[in-house]
């Protein structure tokens, strides 16, 4: 938080809100495509969450810096250009880190471009706020997205595969719930988490 100046409290607020109150997955229900598709293992979920958070952070930074320079008529096109650039960079970086990881994330890395979460943060926040706040916003949203994706991935991997980060959790002969690694399992798990999240939220508001 070196760049924070007079708005320390507000910046922290911007960070916290993405984690819980405005969690991109559990509250805003944004970016469902990667959430459902790449959350079949904890590792995939973590990698996807990190990649998205990175793109979100970089695009928010750039959009915030350039916010007075970009004419409003072409702002969406410019945002897409910026986002696409960082997605491509992420794509190459992941390939350079591990071919296997790149293979299991597949087309969903390129599809970060169309993750409405990123565009919505650029349009709704970064283009209207200073650099410090935009960074905190991106970090909060990114971590919130990562957290949600990880919640899904952990449940799906444990039930669907009997493992956690590839580590075997159960003795041999564990019956995997195959549906959990299939797309349908993504919907089930997301629904269950939304249910829990909303219940907790309701109880909190009631008390």
């Amino acid at each position: 938080m070196s760049e924070s100046n007079t708005h320390t409290t507000t910046s922290t607020d911007e960070f916290i809100k993405g984690l819980w109150r405005e969690n991109p997955v559990f509250v805003q229900v944004l970016g469902m495509c990667p959430v459902l598709a790449v959350s079949n293992t904890a590792e995939n979920a973590l990698a996807m969450g990190l990649a998205t958070a990175f793109v979100l952070l970089m695009s928010n930074i750039l959009v915030s810096i350039l916010r007075s320079f970009i004419p409003k008529e072409v702002r969406i096109a410019s945002y897409i250009l910026i986002i696409a650039t960082f997605v491509t960079i992420t794509d190459y970086t992941i390939q350079a880190i591990s071919v296997d990881l790149h293979k299991s994330l597949g087309a969903f890395i390129s599809l970060i471009v169309v993750n409405c979460l990123i565009l919505s943060r650029a349009e709704a926040f970064a283009s209207k706020n200073n650099l410090g706040k935009s960074i905190m916003d991106a970090l909060g949203m990114g971590v919130g997205f990562l957290f949600a994706l990880f919640c899904l991935g952990a449940v799906r991997e444990i039930l669907g595969n009997g493992t956690f980060f590839g580590l075997q959790l159960f003795p041999d002969g564990f019956q995997a719930w195959i549906v959990m690694i299939l797309p349908a399992g993504g919907f089930f798990t997301l629904a269950a988490w939304l249910l829990i999240f909303n219940l907790v939220q309701q109880r909190k508001e009631a008390s």
Binding site: N40, V99, K103
Partner: protein, 220 residues
């Protein structure tokens, strides 16, 4: 069609310069990353392929890539187009050939690599390069030990004219394998295991005759 600036809006030049500016900047970033990661990406890819070749041709220690054109196998450095990989042991003796093949599985195209031993006329190894088969069912083709055991000595002997397999590679129901050219299926992954047998059969019928007719070219 031109609409003059009756509505107050940013001038075209400014929009253009903004877009071009961002475009150039982004392009630069992408090119830099691409150049920066390319060597490592290529090395990783080559390593992955190498690992697969070593897996399907047990006992080898060096591989060479050959491409086929004009009825000849020519050694090449590229791994694009239709190429096969010859494997050699420590003494430099030619041991076998790894061939890439693909075909329709249950979910999508399955890409496999299999090892061919021309001396004993058998398939000696098998590895799935790419598959989107259903996790838990179809992806047993990568893990099921009984199934993989099919490909330690799968008979693909050619007839005397060296142009046809004596026996086609055929899939059979799990547990009913009787002959060396049959592929024992997997219960719960019938379609995927059948697909593998058919892919190997098709590819073997295409490649084995030309490999055997030009076998001397690998020994150089």
């Amino acid at each position: 069609m031109s609409e003059p600036a009756s509505i107050p809006m940013t001038s075209n030049t400014k929009m253009l310069s903004a877009m071009v500016g961002i475009g150039i900047f982004c392009g630069l970033l992408i090119v830099l990353t691409y150049e920066g990661t390319l060597p490592r990406v290529e090395r990783l890819r080559a390593e992955a392929l190498e690992r697969a070749i070593f897996k399907v041709l047990p006992g080898i220690n060096e591989t060479k890539t050959f491409s086929f054109s004009d009825g000849q196998f020519i050694q090449t450095d590229q791994s694009e187009g239709t190429v096969i990989y010859a494997g050699y042991d420590e003494a430099g003796d030619f041991k076998g050939i790894a061939i890439e093949a693909s075909g329709q599985g249950y979910a999508d195209i399955i890409k496999i690599l299999y090892g061919y031993d021309p001396i004993n006329q058998i398939v000696i190894g098998f590895y799935v390069l790419e598959s989107k088969e259903t996790p838990g069912l179809g992806d047993k083709i990568e893990k099921d030990e009984n199934f993989l055991a099919n490909f330690t000595a799968l008979d693909v002997t050619l007839d005397d004219t060296k142009s046809n397999l004596i026996n086609s590679v055929i899939p059979v129901k799990s547990g009913t394998k009787e002959n060396a050219w049959e592929v024992d299926g997997i219960t719960g992954a019938t379609i995927s295991s059948r697909a593998i047998a058919e892919i190997i059969d098709k590819s073997a019928k295409q490649w084995l005759p030309i490999i055997n007719q030009n076998i001397a070219q690998f020994n150089e």
